[in-house]
Structure formats: C-alpha cells, structure tokens
Amino acid sequence: MNDIIKQIHVRKLERRKQLAALPVGEKLRMLEEMLAATRAISASRPSKPKNPIRWSKTV
C-alpha cells in the first residue's frame, strides 16, 4: 500500500467514525435518503453485457 492509498484509507476510516458517531435518528434518515437515491439509479435500467460472468457454485 503506497502513501497516497494509506492517506485515503485513513481519511475513509475517519469519515466512517464521524458518521458512526451521529445520532441514530440522523443515520436512519440518511439511510432513507440512500434508498431513495438507489431507487432513482435503478430506475435508469443499464443494459446488460452480452456475455456476463455467471455465478456458479461449482467453479
């Protein structure tokens, strides 16, 4: 892991801790916003690849 990646990782951890420390009601409101955004994105229906990698438990 080079220095820049380490710095990004440290900042990400710090951000996660800040978010974790928010009041529960605020975090649940953020979850509801995320879900609304996810619904908007999935409504755009991206086209599927012609030859997708398929999940197989036998591999």
Binding site: R16, A20, G25, L28, L31
Partner: protein, 171 residues
C-alpha cells in the same frame, strides 16, 4: 423509521410479540455509519398459543393486517419498509435478544442488539457481507474487546475469530 419502532413497541405492549430487538443491517446502523439495506430484521420471542406450546407467526400477521400492514412473502410492509419478524434460531441470537439495549430514536424507544452481539452473529453466519460488517465494527472501534471475547468463547467462535483476524485484520 421511528413510526415502525412505535408500531413494534405497541405490538410488544399488546402481547402480540414477546421481547423484541432490532438486528441485521438496521441494528448495525445504531453503532456504525449508515449502510444500505432494503429490510428491517426484528428478532422476537413469540408468545405460546393458549393451551399449547406451538409457536407461530400467525397472530403477528393478523394483528398487522387489520392495521393496514399487509404481508409480502416473508415480510410485512410497515410504513413502506419490508419488516421481517424472526424468532431466535441459535443460542447466540437468544442471548443477543436477552441482552439487547434500549436506544432513543427521535423520542421513540427502540431495543437493539449490542454491537458485540451483532459482530459475533456476523462472524457466526460468515457470508462475505457479514465479514465486511465485522471489519466495519472493528474499524469504527465500537467493540469492547473483553465483552466481545466473552461472547465468542461462550459460543465457541474463538477459532473463527482468530482466522478472521489472520485473514482480514493482520497487515
């Protein structure tokens, strides 16, 4: 989501369910940063039917249906959320339910599994998303090391924890 907690609290007060606690991803959000999920897992002790020991989710479905909350597969839609009522299936979940703590959500009390029990359940279940969540619990520094190890020892999970530490936490 507070409205859902109010409905569940009322169900407990009315005796439709026994002790309840929030688990799963929403339970984790009480301790971690918000993580996305589509459903709410409510772990419940079920009251036994009169004159018998049969445990059934039927009374929960009936109670909620007459209040305008319809079933949808294994879920019941409450205030727009897919809510699943789950009786404890392991001794670890039984303990998590017994030792769950009450938290305030904008003035509404909600009972939730402790961070240590949520992480231990993730370790026991062991899917990739569960491993990811254990890493988040560790990174957020919300697990009490002593309390966590006591739970792991009691439920024979120390071997899994050592492997997990070796695979994901040691650099």
């Amino acid at each position: 989501m507070e409205r859902i907690f109010a409905v569940i609290n009322q169900m407990e007060a009315d005796g439709v369910i026994g002790r309840y606690a929030i688990g799963g991803a929403v339970g984790s959000i009480f301790w971690l940063e918000p993580i996305t999920t589509k459903d709410l897992d409510v772990f419940v002790m079920l009251p036994t039917s009169p004159g018998g020991s049969l445990l059934t989710l039927g009374p929960i479905y009936e109670y909620l249906l007459v209040r305008g909350y319809p079933p949808q597969g294994q879920f019941i839609t409450i205030e727009g959320w897919a809510v699943e009522f789950v009786p404890p299936g392991t001794s670890l979940v039984e303990e998590a339910l017994a030792q769950a703590v009450e938290r305030d959500v904008n003035g509404i009390p909600a009972r939730v599994f402790t961070a240590e029990h949520l992480a231990a359940i993730c370790l026991q279940v062991g899917r990739s998303k569960d491993h990811d969540r254990v890493i988040r619990f560790v990174e957020a520094e919300v697990l009490d090391a002593e309390a966590f190890e006591v739970i792991l020892q009691r439920h024979d999970l120390m071997g899994k924890w050592r492997k997990f530490q070796h695979d994901y936490l040691e650099t």
